[in-house]
């Protein structure tokens, strides 16, 4: 946790996550035409979740790599 910009990067990620999981964006995917046989809403929610976790891991360990 030595990254000097860690704090602001995390706030940025929080804003992004709040946007990704907002009802407005979810409503965009609330349709019945399946994506690869799966409902788009479910696919979107889990995909967005994975993206947030990956970004979080990268930011949380960015200081470690620099060392």
């Amino acid at each position: 946790m030595k990254d000097p910009r860690l704090g602001e990067r995390l706030i940025g990620l929080l804003l992004l996550a709040a946007l990704l999981f907002s009802p407005m964006l979810l409503a965009l995917f609330a349709r019945s035409s399946p994506v690869a046989g799966l409902p788009p809403l479910v696919v979107y929610v889990f995909a967005a979740w994975v993206v947030v976790i990956i970004l979080l891991a990268r930011i949380a360990h960015s200081g470690d790599r620099d060392r």
């Binding site: 995390l10 929080l14 409503a27 019945s32 809403l41 979740w49 949380a60």
Partner: protein
């Protein structure tokens, strides 16, 4: 399935838990902690996923669609904020030895036992149904495994819940109350909880994979079939039946829950080993949440597709689906998973609540009841352990009773959300207290009571009404038929979701009262101190360490006080290590200073809570508390004042330096001025002496025309000599002035000193002859050249030689001259055999107009400027001139001039 088999598996599983906890504690005692790593930390945090997650998520997904995910997206959002919020909570809690949410609130708002007690009671009220929910889930799962009619009806004759509750109480007592100081971690418990988190994740994945791939042909198959069913398809395309407001509410509630649920505080803050674990745990924990939710939707849809609507409780699809196809083993895995989810939650929650009840409710009350004489009892550690254990039994008993008498009627998820909404009421008080210095105790009180009251009115009472405890007309028509006050639609407005409605109104009351009362009231002394300690925990180390105590106490008394609550051995150990840290010898010091008193208070806070610790410490400390005025002076303006005074200090230091320089310069100027005046006076005086003599002899010659010729010549020769002296004096004054003003034109070259000295000897030979003084010159060959101005050095040498002649012994005059090479330059020594110079005058011979030879002849023999000029010349050329006068050996002048080439080595 056989009841005994189920009971056997359950008891066997719990035995494994006991074994792991025991192992974890042993490793901790041996100093080889198993829980000190971020992965275990993240797994223990997954105690968030209870039986409610394990069974209830599927139930909610079957009823509402995707919105169950919001309950896990909230914690993901908070995980992003861990570095900001949780890290701060960690720092604060460690600095103040905080043991629970109630303690956190009490400590922040001036160590108020009333506020701590309020939070403890609210937590107890809120968490009891939540624990009941876990017991209900376990007993329902046993029932369905035994093949009893599906559904979660009441009337478990065998009362599995009771056995489970009893076993969990035993576990919590064994592994949750080992230490009195709750800031010491329960490593065995954490190890067991982490193990449980793995079990429930694996179990849920096994069921999910089994349902998706064994019972159906993969997720596509399930979703395709679900889309084809008009009654199920809407679940896949909407964000939940409660709309955007419901989604946002769920997200916000779960954000509050992950921070403020007593069990989350326990695992995330109290059991934290190292702040740095937050980094890795912050993404491992959301990853865990994602994985455990991956198969929720498939299982829910599979359940809806498999069972006729209403035939099986959707909360139990996880068990019912494997049983439906006769796979007892998978159902047993699911049962163990559910059991682990329930026990994990119950164990941690009970321990957290027991600590809270003991430290923030029982102890403050017991210590205040004088009849019990607790304040005088010598050892209270046993009592503390007893209270904690009693609290554990009490909490579990309450949970069991709640489950037994009320719990049958309400779906799992609803009870859980009820608790979440209540826990969210802590958010303004705690977050506000962490970031806003102006938050006061009155604001916290008002906010908590207002928010909790509205929560009870809009959620708890309706829940009672739906359970049949209160007439349902309370819901439909409002209390006493007043429609405006209907609990699900206050003032006639319903947001479409009772939860969103309740959250809105309770937060309006909570935040409104919290902010309003905080602005309207003034904080007390302790409160301000604590406010700064909390808000500025990362900065202002000095300010946060400002002494909270002004009086002093005997170290012995403090130690005895601590020993009563934490045990003798631990108290002595803690005191000694604190003394070592501060470099104090305990045996030598009797009186404890403010820092020691503060340390004792924190030590006690870990055992009996902040509020009681303050009261107990105050009983020992003599002298007043710090007054409000002082604290304000110390803290409120501390930030600004510290910064301001530092700047001021820097500025005044710079000013001081500048004025010192000015003073020195001024003194130098005054000195120079004085010297100039003195010089002028002396020069004038020196000029007047020869002038007077010239004038008087001239007048004699003028007035007495008939003077004999010899006398006339004698007088004329005096006039000539005095004129010469006058000329010499004026020349020297001019030279000196030029040298001092730096206008003298130097012609610096390499000079052969031997030749120069020989010339000088030749120039003064007439003088030597006149006075009959012998000159003994030692001029060795091959001397290195020096760097100097030839004419000036010649003047120096002639000056020294003529001085030596003048002052050498009148009878057998002898002057010795020598040139010697030295490491730092060429040395010229001129020595006479005269009377020498008195020691007190040695330092002044090089000053202007100092003549020390006058006493003998009574008449000045020189101008008094010669040596002064010599010194200026030699020093300007980078050399040195010195004089010494050993008694009876004449004066000895030494001139050292630098070599023309690079200086020689020391040899």
């Amino acid at each position: 399935m056989d009841s005994w088999l189920i009971l056997g598996v359950a008891i066997g599983y719990l035995c494994v838990l006991f074994a792991i906890a025991r192992w974890g504690d042993r490793r901790a005692d041996a100093g080889r902690s198993v829980v000190a790593n971020p992965t275990i930390y993240a797994l223990s945090m997954a105690v968030y996923c209870t039986a409610w997650t394990f069974y209830g998520s599927v139930g909610r997904a079957a009823a509402n669609g995707i919105d169950f995910v919001a309950i896990y997206l909230g914690p993901t959002l908070v995980a992003v904020l861990w570095w900001h919020v949780t890290r701060k909570m960690l720092r604060i809690s460690k600095a103040n030895r905080i043991t629970s949410i109630a303690d956190f609130v009490a400590s922040r708002y001036g160590k108020s036992s009333l506020l701590g007690g309020l939070v403890a009671i609210i937590s107890l009220i809120v968490i009891t149904p939540y624990i009941a929910l876990q017991l209900k889930a376990v007993s329902a799962s046993v029932e369905i495994l035994r093949g009893a009619p599906a559904g979660m009806g009441r009337g478990t004759l065998d009362d599995t819940a009771l056995y489970v509750a009893a076993l969990m109480a035993a576990f919590a007592i064994l592994y949750g109350t080992r230490h009195i100081d709750a800031t010491e971690r329960h490593e065995g418990m954490v190890a067991a909880i982490a193990f449980e988190s793995i079990v429930k994740l694996v179990a849920f994945m096994v069921v999910g994979l089994f349902v998706t791939f064994a019972m159906f042909a993969g997720p596509q198959d399930i979703f395709a079939r679900a889309l084809a069913r008009p009654d199920i398809a809407p679940l896949l395309v909407s964000t939940g039946t409660s709309g955007p407001a419901g989604w946002i509410t769920l997200t916000l509630l779960s954000m509050a829950a992950i921070l403020f649920l007593p069990r989350q505080f326990q695992v995330a803050i109290v059991e934290n080993v190292d702040e740095r674990h937050l980094a890795k745990a912050s993404w491992l924990f959301p990853l865990y949440l994602l994985l455990i939710n991956l198969f929720v939707f498939p299982i829910a849809l599979a359940g809806l597709l498999t069972f006729a609507p209403g035939s099986v409780d959707s909360d139990l699809f996880v068990l019912a689906l494997p049983l439906q196809v006769g796979t007892g083993a998978v159902a047993m895995v699911a049962f163990v998973g559910g059991l682990s989810a329930a026990t994990g939650m119950v164990i941690v929650e009970t321990i957290a609540l027991a600590t809270m009840l003991c430290n923030d409710l029982a102890m403050p009350i017991l210590l205040r009841i004088r009849v019990l004489g607790l304040s005088e009892r010598a050892d209270l550690t046993g009592l503390l352990v007893g209270i904690r254990r009693g609290s554990i039994v009490l909490v579990l008993l309450l949970g069991y009773l709640y489950f037994h008498f009320i719990g049958g009627s309400y779906a799992l998820v609803s009870i859980g959300l009820l608790s979440f909404a209540a826990v969210a009421q802590f958010a303004p008080t705690i977050i506000g207290g962490m970031y806003w210095r102006g938050a006061t105790r009155a604001g916290a009180f008002g906010g908590l009571i207002g928010g909790f009251g509205l929560w009870a009115y809009t959620l708890l009472l309706p829940a009672f009404a739906r359970s049949g405890w209160i007439d349902v007309s309370f819901l439909t028509d409002g209390p006493a038929g007043i429609a405006v006050l209907r609990p699900y639609a206050l003032f006639g407005v319903s947001l479409g979701d009772p939860l969103a409605h309740a959250l809105f109104w309770s937060m309006v009351a909570n935040i409104g009262l919290f902010v309003g009362l905080s602005l309207a009231t003034r904080a007390g002394a302790t409160e301000r101190m604590q406010a700064t300690r909390f808000v500025d925990v990362f900065s202002h180390e000095e300010a946060t360490r400002a002494p909270a105590w002004r009086g002093t106490a005997q170290i012995d008394e403090l130690m005895q006080l601590a020993a009563r609550f934490v045990g003798r051995a631990r108290a002595v150990q803690a005191f000694e290590s604190h003394a070592r840290e501060r470099g104090v010898d305990l045996r030598r010091v009797e009186r404890a200073d403010a820092s020691f008193v503060g340390f004792t208070e924190r030590l006690l806070a870990g055992a009996i809570g902040a509020a009681s610790a303050r009261v107990m410490t105050a009983s020992v400390v003599k002298g007043e508390d710090v007054s409000l005025g002082e604290v304000m002076a110390i803290l409120d303006e501390a930030t600004a004042v510290i910064e301001y005074s530092r700047q001021l200090e820097q500025k005044s230091k710079a000013l001081e330096d500048a004025s010192a320089e000015l003073r020195a310069a001024n003194m130098r100027l005054r000195e120079l001025d004085r010297l100039k005046d003195e010089f002028l006076t002396t020069v004038t005086h020196e000029l007047r002496t020869p002038l007077t003599s010239i004038r008087s002899f001239s007048e004699i010659l003028h007035d007495n025309v008939d003077l004999p010729p010899e006398q006339r010549r004698e007088f004329l020769s005096i006039v000539i000599r005095e004129s010469e002296r006058l000329t010499r004096l004026i020349n020297q004054v001019l030279d000196l002035a030029k040298i001092e003003a730096g206008r003298f034109e130097w012609q610096i070259t390499a000079i052969d000193m031997k030749a120069l000295v020989s010339d000088a000897i030749a120039a003064t030979s007439q003088l030597f002859k006149e006075r009959q003084v012998r000159l003994d010159a030692q001029l060795p060959p091959d001397l290195p050249a020096v760097r100097a101005d030839r004419d000036q050095i010649m003047q120096v040498v002639i000056n020294l030689l003529s001085n030596a002649v003048k002052f050498s012994s009148p009878e057998r005059g002898l002057v010795e001259l020598a040139l010697r090479p030295r490491a730092d330059g060429l040395e010229l020594v001129v020595r006479d055999n005269g009377p020498g110079i008195a020691t007190e005058n040695l330092s002044q011979v090089f000053e202007k107009f100092r003549q020390f030879g006058d006493q003998q002849s009574g008449k000045p023999q020189g101008t008094g400027l010669g040596l002064a000029i010599c010194r200026r010349i030699v020093e300007h050329l980078g050399g040195a001139i010195a004089v010494s006068s050993p008694p009876g050996a004449g004066a000895r002048f030494t001139v050292v001039l630098p070599y023309a080439d690079a200086p020689r080595g020391a040899s």
